[in-house]
């Protein structure tokens, strides 16, 4: 990997950052069997911001977990970049997470013992890599945390903590950043800040981001929205607006689950 080159030029022959092919995920056996994913095929393009939406229990989180190698699939294949995730052992998955994946969680998940800066640099420290000072500075400036780097998580607001978590995910310049409801715990203003920042990192630095969300407004920041229901991809939008996302959701509710909810 040419870490010294600016991210925009980091283009390779293939354009997908992550790919799922005929992925099935089944929990339990017999009576208690639950099928979370039914043969999902999806390709997430490099340098794009993709949102995954769907009602509760649609399998959107499961899909993300499988794409990120956090969960195993029952059938099918998952690739991150040119690495096949399915079939990797724990050591391989650990290496994959170190080198190619960044995470942003709903609960921020910062280490309370470390300062903001230490939290941001933690993935690099774990991997034993030296931070690229210039890139680190860029990330810090983008998230606007310059004066808060010495603070511990409990001295930061929720929005600030999530910005630290974003910076942590981006600082190692992973192949893909997976964001699981990143604004779920934030008020709308802080949420907007975080989403704006994610958007910028895609547009300006060519970062690939996959985000699971409930929120139509959040989804509207993405380049592309994939809708899941009952473990299958049922719709897709490009260039979404909040209204179009809501309309799609409503139509899904009517067609896929007549008589339930709403």
């Amino acid at each position: 990997m040419t870490t010294a080159a600016p991210p925009l030029i980091r283009q390779r022959a293939e354009t997908s950052a992550a790919r799922a092919s005929q992925v099935w995920k089944v929990y339990g056996t017999g009576e208690a069997q639950v099928v979370a994913l039914r043969g999902v095929d999806v390709e997430l393009e490099r340098g794009r911001f993709t949102a995954i939406m769907g009602p509760s229990g649609s399998g959107k989180s499961t899909l993300m977990h499988c794409l990120a190698g956090l969960d195993s699939v029952s059938r099918g294949q998952v690739f991150v970049g040119d690495t096949e995730v399915t079939g990797l052992n724990d050591a391989g998955l650990t290496r994959l997470r170190r080198e190619k994946i960044g995470f942003i969680f709903q609960q921020f998940n910062l280490l309370p013992t470390l300062t903001a800066q230490e939290n941001i640099l933690l993935p690099l420290a774990i991997a034993g890599r030296k931070p690229d000072q210039q890139w680190f500075q860029t990330v810090i400036d983008t998230v606007g945390l310059g004066d808060r780097l010495g603070h511990r998580p409990n001295q930061l607001s929720g929005g600030q903590q999530q910005r630290v978590a974003c910076a942590r995910a981006l600082v190692s310049r992973p192949e893909v950043v997976f964001a699981d409801e990143p604004t779920g715990n934030l008020d709308s203003r802080s949420g907007a800040e975080v989403l704006g920042f994610l958007r910028r990192s895609v547009t300006e630095y060519g970062q690939t981001i996959v985000m699971v969300t409930h929120d139509a407004v959040a989804a509207s920041y993405a380049d592309r929205v994939i809708f899941l229901a009952d473990g299958q991809i049922v719709a897709e939008l490009t260039g979404p607006t909040p209204e179009r996302v809501l309309d799609t959701l409503k139509s899904l509710d009517r067609t896929a689950q007549p008589g339930t909810e709403l």
Binding site: L70, A91, Q107, N109, L122, I126
Partner: protein, 847 residues
């Protein structure tokens, strides 16, 4: 509320198992001690009552010198043949058997060495036929002067067979006998338990064991049919007067067993002391567990408060939990204690060929098990329960747990309690009397509590410094940060380890200071080139034939040989050791003794020299007289002819050789040897050893060898104490495991995150291990610091007893630190595996 409590109890099995285990181990130790000593005690009862089965009345002489079992051996008195005849004439007496029995008959085994005893006496006695339950197992009894029989215990240990020629050491040098018989006791008993017995013909026994022809140590009386033993006892008593002790056989058996039981109960108390330490440590563990449980249940407790539970109910819910654990741990601990006690009793019995009485459960074991088990748990849970009751209902609605409270109050109370403890120790060491023991005990306890309360304050800086050692890697750094995260928890876990380590270090410091002080003084003071001496054992002072002295002096290269004889004596009615030397000026030179008053010339008949300390205590000056009673012979007056300065390694009364005939072992037990100038050391030593071939107990050693052997006993004591304190350490390590397991549980989400951003399994385990090692090393450091303090205090307090130098055993302390780190690694194994196995996904999803 009760149901809610029990449900939450079940939900937290792991941590409760661990803290319950601590109580269980402590209870096991306590009840095991009781079961062990009870079984051994009843075994002794059986043994002595069977030995006395055929004796209706026993007549013994009052001890010539009566010393308590703990201070030395009492010197038995003797009865004369005339006394036997007098008893025989009492109406109602069917038969009187004169018994000669004294400790100190050492058989030389087939390997040429004296058959060793680990404490039980080695009796030399007269053959009285198959009486008193004695049965021949092989051969016959001795009939001529050069024949002996031995008991089964001794025959097995010595591997001697009937027909062998056997060397026996007694109060006289080695004599050769033919072994003609092996005997045991009724009911298949191999002998009087672990006791070694050699039976001679009566005149030989009297000559060799008592040095007094015609004398007996006791008379065993059989009553005529129809005569009541108690009535006969009174009749004999009125005939003999007050000079002798007259008891029925049962009374005598009980009295002998009573002596053993005194020792057993002392032994029991020592075991209980160690059990107490273990339980004290267990208290820390329980306190910690309950504190953590309460902290974790804050929301739940607040919720129950918000729903209307009273403070009392909250306290009750925590206390019920403690009670349940205490009860369960007591029951299981008691069961385990019975098992362990029975096992140890069996081992002890096998080791000493004692016939073990049946194992039973003494009431004391049951009562103490429950009192201690439930008591400790409930007391330890009290503070956390009070804290739980102070959780405000509003906490149910708040996201974050209560912030760390400031440590000021804890620190202040820790400092004051610690100072109080140190003060009590200082005062205890400075004063004397009955209160000393309690002052010291209370002082040490208060010191421990004080330091434990101070430890959270110490934890931050110490842990941060310690952690730097591991900071070179990310997992190490994270581990360090985690251990500094909750200073109270880290501190109390470490403090539990501190207790055991402090006691071990304290004892080691004291022993090493004693060693150093004595060695230092002895190394400069000892001027003899070689020392001939034997390893002392209870009841026996190894000696060699005084006829060898001239032949020793004739060995090429030998300059002077000065012999010393020793025995107990009553001097002005006080039990003391008496020494007799062949040449006092030589001893003065060889041991660098210094005259304080009078002359240190060889004491003539009726003269004695004493050290200044004894002189001051007894109010003696040159010219004053003392009454001296030796084991054999009548009291006599001696004049103080000189006073010398007490050396740390030498003191006491020194006589001329005129007192030797009054000693039980009228042979030299020591000799100080000077070599001639330019002599061949090795050749001279060989020459001396060749002469001592018939005294296998005697060793020819130079100063260094002599001191190493004599001071080696301290090392054995230390080893024993370390083994007994092992349990306290084990419990402390359980505490570390507990704390780590809880940390892993609490930080599931964090661990999941770390794994999600690329921390490998191995690195996760390393992180937990570093946390454990930091805790244990911190505990050992605290313990070492407190231990050195305790040791220094003891050394200071014993300065009068010759402890002049404080010597800190650095190599041992280094070892303790290394062992602490190793224990940390060990304690981390299970929690680390658990941490590494955390499923990343569920950890992060986990709310």
């Amino acid at each position: 509320m009760l149901r809610a409590t029990l449900k939450s109890l079940l939900a937290r099995k792991l941590r409760l198992v661990l803290s319950g285990l601590a109580v269980l181990l402590g209870v096991m130790f306590v009840s095991g001690s009781f079961v062990l000593t009870d079984a051994l005690g009843r075994s002794f009862d059986n043994m002595f009552s069977s030995a006395m089965a055929e004796t209706d009345v026993l007549v013994t002489a009052r001890p010539a010198i009566d010393v308590s079992e703990l201070e030395g051996e009492s010197v038995p008195g003797m009865l004369a043949a005339a006394d036997r005849d007098a008893v025989a004439a009492v109406p109602g007496v069917a038969e009187v058997v004169g018994v000669v029995q004294a400790d100190g008959a050492r058989v030389i085994g087939t390997d040429g060495k004296v058959v060793a005893s680990f404490g039980p006496p080695r009796f030399g006695a007269n053959w009285t036929g198959e009486t008193g339950g004695l049965e021949l197992r092989e051969g016959r009894g001795p009939t001529s002067a050069d024949e002996i029989a031995v008991n089964v215990t001794l025959a097995e240990l010595s591997k001697l067979k009937v027909g062998d020629r056997v060397g026996v050491l007694t109060t006289q040098p080695k004599k050769l006998f033919t072994l003609v018989g092996v005997f045991g006791y009724e009911g298949g008993l191999p002998g009087q338990g672990p006791v070694h017995e050699v039976r001679f013909t009566e005149p030989v026994a009297q000559e060799l064991m008592l040095g007094a022809p015609g004398a007996y140590t006791s008379l065993s009386v059989t009553a005529a049919p129809g005569t009541d033993p108690a009535a006969l006892r009174d009749a004999i008593k009125s005939r003999l007067g007050d000079k002798y002790v007259v008891q029925t056989g049962q009374e005598a058996a009980a009295a002998i067993a009573g002596d053993f039981k005194t020792i057993l109960s002392l032994f029991n108390n020592i075991l209980l002391g160690f059990a107490g330490v273990a339980l004290f440590v267990g208290t820390f563990l329980i306190l910690n567990t309950f504190s953590i449980i309460v902290a974790q249940r804050t929301r739940e407790l607040a919720l129950s408060r918000a729903l209307g539970a009273s403070r009392r109910q909250v306290i009750g819910s925590v206390m019920v939990e403690a009670l349940a654990i205490g009860l369960l741990a007591s029951v299981l601990g008691l069961a385990a204690g019975v098992g362990v006690g029975a096992l140890l009793a069996k081992l002890a019995a096998d080791f000493s060929s004692l016939v073990l009485a049946s194992i039973s459960l003494p009431l004391a074991a049951v009562i103490s098990a429950f009192a201690v088990g439930i008591g400790v748990t409930v007391i330890a849970a009290l503070l956390p329960a009070l804290r739980a009751s102070r959780v405000p209902p509003v906490a149910a609605l708040q996201e974050v747990a209560t912030p760390d409270r400031p440590l000021t109050r804890l620190t202040v109370s820790g400092a004051s309690i610690g100072a109080l403890g140190a003060g009590a120790i200082a005062f205890g060491l400075a004063t004397s009397g009955d209160a000393v023991m309690w002052l010291l005990l209370g002082g040490v306890l208060a010191t421990f509590i004080g330091v434990s309360l101070l430890s959270p304050v110490l934890a931050r800086p110490v842990v941060s410094v310690l952690g730097r050692l591991f900071s070179w890697s990310v997992p190490g750094r994270l581990g360090r940060l985690n251990s500094g995260r909750n200073p109270r928890r880290t501190a109390i876990t470490a403090a539990a380890l501190m207790v055991g380590v402090a006691l071990i270090t304290g004892v080691n410091t004291t022993i090493s200071s004693a060693d150093r002080s004595l060695r230092g003084d002895a190394e400069t003071g000892f001027q003899a080139d070689l020392i001939i001496s034997g390893q002392e054992s209870p009841g026996v002072l190894p000696t060699f034939d005084e006829a060898l002295l001239p032949r020793m002096r004739a060995v090429p290269g030998i300059g002077t040989v000065t012999a010393e004889y020793n025995d107990q004596a009553l001097i002005n009615e006080e039990p003391s050791w008496a020494a007799a030397v062949t040449d006092l000026p030589a001893v003065v030179r060889d041991l660098s003794l210094v005259a304080v008053a009078g002359s240190l010339a060889q004491p003539g008949p009726g003269e004695v020299v004493v050290d200044d300390q004894n002189a001051t205590e007894a109010g003696l000056t040159v010219g004053s007289t003392v009454t001296v009673k030796l084991p054999k012979g009548e009291p006599a007056s001696y004049r103080i002819s000189g006073v010398y300065q007490r050396a740390p390694f030498y003191g006491g009364y020194i006589f001329g050789t005129d007192v030797v005939p009054g000693m039980r072992f009228p042979q030299p037990s020591f000799a100080y040897v000077r070599l001639a100038d330019g002599a061949d050391d090795a050749a001279a030593r060989k020459g001396l050893e060749a002469l001592l071939v018939d005294s296998p107990e005697m060793l020819v050693e130079d100063k260094q060898q002599y001191l190493d052997r004599e001071l080696g006993e301290g090392a054995q004591l230390l080893l024993m104490i370390q083994i007994l304190l092992g349990l306290a350490i084990v419990i402390a390590v359980l505490g570390v495991i507990n704390t780590l397991a809880l940390s892993v549980l609490e930080r599931t989400r964090e661990l999941g995150l770390l794994r999600a951003i690329g921390l490998s399994r191995a690195a996760t385990m390393r992180m937990i291990t570093v946390e454990a090692v930091v805790i244990t090393v911190f505990g050992v450091l605290l313990g070492v610091a407190v231990g050195i303090g305790l040791g220094a205090a003891v050394v200071q307090g014993l300065a009068d007893e010759g402890l002049s130098t404080l010597s800190i055993p650095w190599p041992a302390i280094g070892l303790y630190l290394a062992a602490g780190a190793a224990l940390g690694v060990l304690a981390a194994v299970l929690p680390a595996i658990r941490a590494a196995r955390i499923n990343v996904l569920t950890a992060i999803a986990h709310e």
